[in-house]
């Protein structure tokens, strides 16, 4: 599977039809997904109908859109009208939304061909996809390992070359960590850059949708398509959407890149990881950038701050799952309160329950100021840290993760799982954009470099990431190791 922009060009030039591209993507999924389990629902008929519509538009000479014929996988957190949307939860196992998310509508309006809905940690709470109520997803670079999470199905599908483009969501790292684990590009835009309408809510002041793609150019194109003000989301900001592809650069002359001292101290203990990131910074300098040390003194409080704010918002958002209007209902003769309690007990998994308990506590009478308001104040300090850092640099470059993908079951202790988002949470709390781009391998496993910029400066991030990608091409250096590919290679040999 080539990149999305290559597919679009081939479709526009009529070298390939969108219909055959869609069939290829569906065949690839058929071949590898029994092992990877990246998808919860496939939509082959819808995909083929969309692809035909693109081919017809091309034949008529109409503009088929910026994503014409590009197969896209959508995290199962985005509502898709008429297509089951579970959010990885038993409580929404049979939910069929009556409307589509704005992100989904914008993708399809630009000719994207949605092939299916991808697996995820339940309600986007997790960093490994193991919290899916249905099944875990596997990492295409080593199927004994997790793809990351919560957008693990989307990352796995792109990493396995099933589709060149997926969309995910990121609350504390849920695009960037799986992108890093699966060797793909993933960008969490500025809070407010992309409409949240039709995204199933987890933590409303943090949730943000973004592209997960085979390369930086695709991330630029997809972001351009999904970004922009939406009257249906009052927190989407009315800031013009640039043509991101024109920010892509091939060198970094004149760019000041901040290296976060606190993060370098915490990664220093892992020799292989520290060496990988040292090499990445050296490559940025080789491309003409100047690296400068910056400090984020409150970054170390990110985890604790996040694990008060996000669960508090989750406990409020998930109060809607009460068995009344949609979703699971367990009513066995008791009153309506018994129905609420039993429905939620049966419908939610452990991680979701844990966070509802924690968040309800942090918001409860007598503790609200001590925990929730205090966390919000530290959020202000963290935002100030970034303002200070960006006075000295144009972008920040830092680790996306502290380690490569781990084996299934390796992080049974919740706090060890929470720590996976150590480098991504501070940007989420500050609401600023950040991306992970493939940065090399530790052993056989890929790892991503994180690049962050001030609010609404996604173009800067994409520009730096593109120069780094073009100079390294790490994602294309090796092929993923899926059993279906191995057996085909062996039978050829």
């Amino acid at each position: 599977m080539t990149s999305g922009h290559e597919i679009r060009e081939a479709v526009l030039r009529r070298e390939r039809s969108a219909a055959e591209i869609a069939d290829e993507a569906l065949a690839r999924i058929e071949a590898v997904d029994s092992e990877l389990k990246a998808f919860l629902t496939l939509t082959p008929e819808r995909a083929r109908a969309r692809a035909r519509a693109v081919d017809e538009a091309v034949a008529r000479g109409d503009d088929p859109g910026l994503l014409a014929g590009v197969p896209v996988a959508v995290k199962d957190l985005f509502c898709t009208k008429g297509v089951r949307t579970t959010c990885g939860s038993k409580i929404l196992e049979n939910f069929v939304p009556p409307y589509s998310a704005t992100v989904v509508e914008r993708l399809e309006a630009q000719g994207a061909v949605i092939v299916g809905k991808t697996n995820m940690d339940e309600f986007a709470m997790g960093s490994s996809c193991e919290n899916s109520a249905f099944f875990p997803t596997r990492n295409p670079w080593d199927p004994s390992r997790v793809p990351g999470g919560s957008s693990g199905g989307s990352a796995s599908a792109v990493g396995a070359r099933c589709v060149p483009v997926a969309v995910g969501t990121d609350t504390g790292g849920s695009i960037r960590e799986p992108a890093s684990f699966c060797n793909v590009v993933g960008i969490k835009p500025t809070y407010g850059r992309v409409s949240r309408y039709g995204m199933i809510a987890f933590a409303s002041s943090l949730d943000q949708a973004g592209p997960m793609t085979s390369d930086v150019r695709d991330a630029a194109d997809v972001l351009e398509v999904i970004a922009g003000h939406d009257p249906m989301d009052s927190t989407s900001v009315d800031v013009p959407v640039p043509h991101y592809a024109s920010s892509l650069r091939d060198d970094l002359k004149g760019v000041r890149i901040g290296i976060v001292e606190e993060f370098e101290e915490s990664i220093a203990g892992d020799v292989a990881m520290a060496a990988l990131y040292e090499a990445a910074y050296a490559k940025l300098r080789e491309l003409g950038a100047k690296t400068v040390p910056v400090r984020l003194p409150h970054a170390k409080y990110g985890l604790a701050t996040y694990y008060l704010i996000a669960p508090a918002e989750c406990s409020s958002n998930l109060a809607r799952y009460d068995g009344v209007r949609y979703g699971l209902r367990i009513a066995d003769g008791g009153d309506v309160y018994a129905m609420f309690e039993k429905t939620r007990a049966a419908g939610f998994g452990d991680e979701v329950k844990r966070r509802i308990i924690l968040g309800t506590y942090a918001l409860s009478s007598g503790y609200y100021d001590a925990y929730y308001v205090r966390a919000q104040k530290i959020r202000t300090l963290m935002k100030g840290d970034f303002d200070g850092a960006f006075a000295q640099c144009d972008v920040i470059a830092c680790p996306a993760v502290s380690c490569p993908a781990f084996e299934l079951g390796a992080k049974a202790d919740p706090v060890s799982m929470y720590l996976m988002d150590y480098f991504t949470i501070p940007m989420s709390l500050a609401g600023i954009p950040a991306l992970s781009v493939p940065a090399g391998y530790v052993g056989a496993l890929p790892v991503g470099l994180q690049i962050a910029a001030p609010a609404f400066e996604e173009g800067r991030i994409l520009g730096v990431a593109h120069a780094f990608e073009q100079a390294t091409k790490f994602a294309r250096l090796r092929e993923p190791l899926i059993a279906a590919d191995r057996s085909r290679a062996e039978s050829r040999a």
């Binding site: 409080y301 308990i357 309800t360 919000q376």
Partner: protein, 95 residues
């Protein structure tokens, strides 16, 4: 491990979430480790810091007061676990 300050029985009632004894015990132990991190926040002096509820400088956002298309009744009721005509049906609320 930090002492967990949460009265899980009380909080689960507030959250309308029935927990088994096994879940309550497991969550206490697991959240205890998180409170090791959370208690570090208590050391910071934030008395004069303004809280951030959301990061973008938006104030009240209003729309024009005009009627636009919305979900029709059948679509709104399509996912209902139980319904009666045009209504969502639940177990009895008031005795």
């Amino acid at each position: 491990m930090a002492e967990i300050p949460i009265d899980i029985a009380h909080v689960s009632k507030l959250a309308r979430l029935a927990l088994t004894d096994r879940e309550a015990a497991a969550f206490s132990a697991q959240l205890g480790k998180l409170f090791d991190y959370i208690k570090e926040l208590q050391a910071l002096d934030v008395e004069h810091v303004h809280p951030t509820a959301q990061v973008i400088p938006l104030r009240n956002v209003f729309r024009d007061d005009v009627i636009t298309a919305s979900l029709d009744q059948a679509a709104a009721l399509a996912n209902a676990p139980d319904k009666d005509g045009a209504y969502f049906k639940t177990p009895r609320i008031l005795e």
